[in-house]
Symmetry: C2
Subunit: 696 residues, 2 copies
């Protein structure tokens, strides 16, 4: 998900009304929540909107929803495997299929026949097929009296075992997911697709009209869409389910749903954890991102090819910076923190008042609070002891660890190397996507330089990583000489197992072998001292919540499938009202208003074909559905189960949504299906796609 | 000037950069200031924009600027007396020339020939012809050792004498104006016009598109214009000067000027005066306005004719409420008050550090501060001892006082009855404009009811006003029986002098005779105890400022002619950027976005003739010029002295401008001359007007 942010929060955010667990008040519940499909908010839906989705409705939307494993959501929109998502979700693949000669990010792409569809190098899509509660099994792995760091290992081993058994018995991607910060564990089984082909993408100019300034704002005018098709065995699949295309799109006031994969919220984090984020983690992470952004921009300025290479990275950095600044601003709003503190105080009192709860769960809050001080001691090491670069050092690290980890019993490995994960991992690792050596070198040199500045020359990581040389020299030697740009070289190393890696003279492999012990040390410290306590305390707080309130709320977002609901609705904005939608008139107004200056310029076809368009057609719209980054590309669905919009952003007022939901002004921003239909037909002559969407 | 306001201030306002007196810093000075024409900001203009207007340029814009005496600004835009202003400035006259059968507010007006031009009942326009510094004369009237209340009287008498002498010798309207809160006095001579005829006004739907929600905001899409023609002796005048119409309008980044009549700022008020406003005056006044608004709405709901009658009042109330809420929000922003306090502290230190300054001026701050407590004691009486109603009780009060005051020597009268004022006063008093008895009655009844509630039944005003009856009964008796709706009756009473008024049995005259002593008592108390101290202290602080900083700044606004300068420029808004202009595309976008629901509906001609318009033409734009209410209708002028825009509002971020100017986001909002030209030609077939504007 994308978005833009300035200095201070809009006023509306100050009037926070979030109430996550106290859902039993007399007033009608806000349209809050990213609900798991095992626990849909049918009660609240019925109360507020008089609508109760049945199990067939829910099953259809579940099977229509698609997870983009490089970060985003999408949905099946035809019987023959068409998948709709955002241009900015597709952007990584668009960049990977582009070359110095052909820039599909900038120019867009349109396959007029299936033969022209363009295979993506390393895109994996997942469809959630089943969910199974395995909480008891995971809990059972922890024996009474176990040290917490051992308990963490036991939990992870149990999760790996469940995943492996499921994979072996079903052949499906099987992930055990942690919900409610350890309150529940679920086995999610996914149908996995890896032959994904690009069908359509508009020019980035129109997909990202308004650029970074307009990102995370509304009113908005972006055709942020892209269409893929899923193949298996070189044939388009029959979609497991799909959403019927509603060409009229969403109407003002209409009840709608969003099915997608929100990445991360921190609404159930306790006050001291939020303080840690506010005072230390977020400011420091932002500082790092801004430096990387500056470095990337200086590279992009070298020339047009360099600008093309850095494009995806720049968009991503700007997006994250704007989002985090908004989140940080939320945390810095005294009203927000006061509300959080008050809710926590009341919850702790509830727990303390009942002796058996106090006994079982009462120590979780003070322990988590103390933990923050411990974490702070090594925070800079955690953030700066990183291999750096863009892809190459990460590839080398994966190879070195892969061969070391797979030798161990499944339950004892670093968790990303469990048997159940290896297929997806290799798919990414062997990706033939282009690698930009010069850009890699610049980023690696700067991250090493930054590490020296922050950690000092005596830090073990810095010493191993530099070996007495300058960051620039190290980066130059590593990047210019490595052969890891060739996927075959990577595969040979992995296939050659530990022996091949041990004797490899590839400078990046040699370098990673040298620094990996330092990286492993800090990771182990984190797991033994931080994560183990967080999980243990999270489990206690989760249990206390279930004991006190039942399962009346939803877990924090974890990039797993969720359903959100709400109404298409404007909101108070900057002294007036934002409408619930924008039109093509608004697009041309904003372009003209800025005299077509970048990023408010338009692709030539928009100028040439303006007269063909019905300018009053809806282009973007907002709804009260509760979403966050990761939801990009999610379908907006009406009561009839049809697709009426395509989520691509939240408004600026939604950014504190990482911590609280505030219905008055928090809005999800979507592309209107009417606007997409108008563009496909009249600007892109994409009749074949339209016919397929309409089931003709 | 108009505008809309919501709960909290936009973030940008929090970053205050105002610096009113400390104008000598190294950085380039902000585009701040409403400068008197005797002291134009030529130094700052040259420094920042490299432009120095010469005296001919200044004289031409001065003589082109017109003051609308019912509250607003305008300018001559043709050689034959065409005056351009806002629809909302013209609205009062539009209401007065309308009838139950013909609603010119709603439907607009267009005289296709001069013969069709419509005479306004009571509109007086003024053009500032000369300025003369009379500070020494006014100061000299105060003798050493005089009590402050006597000093106030002496000053007022001196002012009246100067005005009278000027009137007698020149025949011109002559006002002595107080600047810098008593630091300077100037004699302003005006050419006065009272035969003003309506030439053109569009439909209110488009003049006030977006209604109260969009008021005081930007981006904006209002054709808030109206055109009058000035006559003398039944013939169109030759304009004393006029601004050449530039049909292209302002361009992004261009240096522009605003010549107009800002009504009131409080930038030079001291901290304790602002606290009084923040904590007592503004909240109480807002409460009163909101009650009157509710009462007026309940009247308007009776039917379409009642809605028409209440129209002007409703617009005015909504506008003031939104403005004051924004101003109050500004005062409630801790950063603003902290900045004010800091500046004041530094100024007081400067004064205290110099013994002769401390001796001469040092007591002004503590005295003004103490004065607030005194004022607070009678604040409710000041605000609630009012005759109420809309026009009739005020007319009666004017008649009763007129005949009593004119008997006294000029210098001893209530200041609005000085000889120099009487002609304008009678012009208004004998206005044939329609009076709505039923609406008057409702408003009078409610204001009396409110007075009882707030002051109690034992209050002398309440006792005299009600005489034991209910507010409804009193209002009914007074309004239904009075003959003051007839201008001839008013004239006969005035001409009959004190004797006629004394024996009048008109119930309103009888009633005012009864309550006037109570009203005069509180007015006298205010003058003797509050105003006299304010003026004495204001003079001291003014003198201290001149001593410390010279005349490097501008006085607070006083509805006298000022020049402001700045650039056409967008600003940071709600997470992104507001452009410097909007287009007709934006108008149609906003109408479509709200599905043409009121107040986002359009006159039918806009739908019918949409295809004739060039939708990319600029409609509204913003500039950094420093303006406030009263500037409505001011011309925006380019370096060539041409008119390129028409001020009609400030954005929501400008509302704290009553107290501080903040260039980052404070913007004046104007109608683009290109947009006006496009509408006049293509929507209104007003070729004759366009030809006259273009000097053809």
């Amino acid at each position: 998900m994308k978005g833009c942010w300035k200095k201070t929060l809009p006023g509306a955010v100050l009037a926070l009304v979030a109430s996550l667990w106290i859902a039993t008040s007399n007033s009608i519940r806000a349209d809050e929540g990213m609900w798991t499909l095992d626990n849909p908010p049918t009660k609240y839906l019925k109360e507020r909107y008089g609508f109760e989705p049945d199990s067939a409705w829910l099953k259809n939307v579940q099977l229509s929803a698609v997870r983009f494993n490089d970060g985003g959501s999408g949905s099946f929109v035809s019987a023959e495997g068409l998948v709709l998502t955002n241009h900015h979700v597709a952007r990584g693949q668009l960049q990977k299929v582009s070359s110095p000669k052909k820039d599909y990010c900038k120019d867009g792409f349109h396959a007029r026949t299936t033969a022209e569809e363009l295979r993506c190098p390393d895109l994996e899509l997942n469809v959630l097929v089943s969910m199974e509660n395995v909480t008891d099994k995971v809990f059972a792995s922890v024996k009474p009296g176990m040290a917490e760091k051992d308990a963490l290992k036991a939990r992870k081993a149990a999760m790996a075992k469940i995943e492996k058994e499921s994979l072996d018995s079903t052949g499906m991607r099987s992930d055990v997911v942690t919900l409610y910060h350890g309150g529940e564990y679920w086995l999610y089984r996914y149908k996995k697709y890896t032959d994904i082909r690009l069908v359509f993408a508009p020019e980035e100019q129109i997909a990202f009209f308004g650029g970074d300034p307009d990102n995370f704002t509304f009113p908005r005018h972006d055709l942020d869409m892209a269409i893929f098709r899923v193949y298996e065995k070189d044939k388009a699949i029959k979609s497991p389910a799909f959403l019927k295309w509603n060409p009229k799109g969403a109407a003002d006031g209409e009840l709608v749903f969003v099915l997608g994969h929100p990445g991360r919220t921190d609404r159930l984090q306790i006050h001291s954890q939020l303080e840690m984020q506010r005072d230390h983690e977020l400011p420091l992470k932002l500082k790092i991102l801004k430096r990387t952004l500056a470095t990337s921009y200086s590279y992009a300025k070298r020339g047009s090819e360099e600008a093309r290479e850095a494009g995806d990275r720049l968009r991503g950095l700007e997006n994250t910076i704007k989002a985090w600044e908004g989140e940080l601003q939320g945390l810095m709003t005294p009203q927000l923190m006061a509300k959080k503190a008050q809710e926590e105080k009341e919850f702790i009192k509830l727990v303390s008042d009942k002796p058996e709860w106090r006994e079982a769960y009462g120590d979780a809050w003070p322990r988590l609070s103390n933990l923050q001080k411990q974490k702070l001691q090594r925070l800079r090491q955690i953030l700066f002891r990183k291999p750096g670069g863009l892809r190459l050092p990460a590839i080398a690290l994966q190879i070195v660890r892969y061969v070391a980890e797979v030798k161990k019993p499944d339950g004892e490995r670093l968790e990303e190397y469990h048997d159940s994960q290896l297929e997806s991992l290799r798919f990414k690792l062997y990706s033939p996507a282009p690698i930009y050596r010069a850009f890699e070198e610049v980023l690696l040199a700067d991250s090493l330089k930054y590490a020296v500045e922050e950690l000092g020359p005596g830090d073990p990581f810095v010493k191993e990583a530099l070996g007495g040389k300058s960051p620039e020299q190290v980066a130059k030697e590593l990047i210019s000489e490595t052969k890891l740009t060739d996927p075959k070289v990577r595969k040979n190393l992995v296939d050659g197992a530990e022996e091949a890696v041990k004797v490899s003279t590839d400078p990046l492999i040699v370098w990673i072998r040298k620094i990996d012990p330092v990286l492993r040390e800090i990771r182990k410290w984190q797991e033994d001292n931080i994560e183990s306590v967080e999980v243990a305390c999270g489990e206690k707080i989760g249990k206390a919540r279930f004991a006190a309130f039942g399962k009346s709320a939803y877990p924090d977002a974890t990039f797993t499938l969720r359903i959100a609901y709400g109404a298409v609705k404007g909101y108070p904005m900057n002294g007036t009202r934002a409408p619930s939608k924008t039109t093509y008139h608004g697009l041309f107004d904003r372009a003209c208003s800025f005299d077509f200056k970048q990023p408010f310029d338009l692709p030539q076809r928009y100028i040439d074909r303006k007269d063909k368009l019905d300018l009053s057609v809806g282009l973007n719209f907002v709804c009260t559905c509760d979403i966050i980054g990761g939801n990009s590309g999610s379908p907006v669905i009406n009561k009839a189960g049809e697709i009426v919009g395509l989520i691509f952003d939240g408004n600026i007022e939604s950014l504190p949504g990482r911590y609280v939901f505030e219905e008055e002004a928090n809005r999800a921003v979507a592309v209107h299906t009417a606007g997409m239909s108008e563009a496909l037909r009249k600007l892109y002559d994409a009749e074949a796609i339209m016919n397929e969407l309409l089931g003709k």
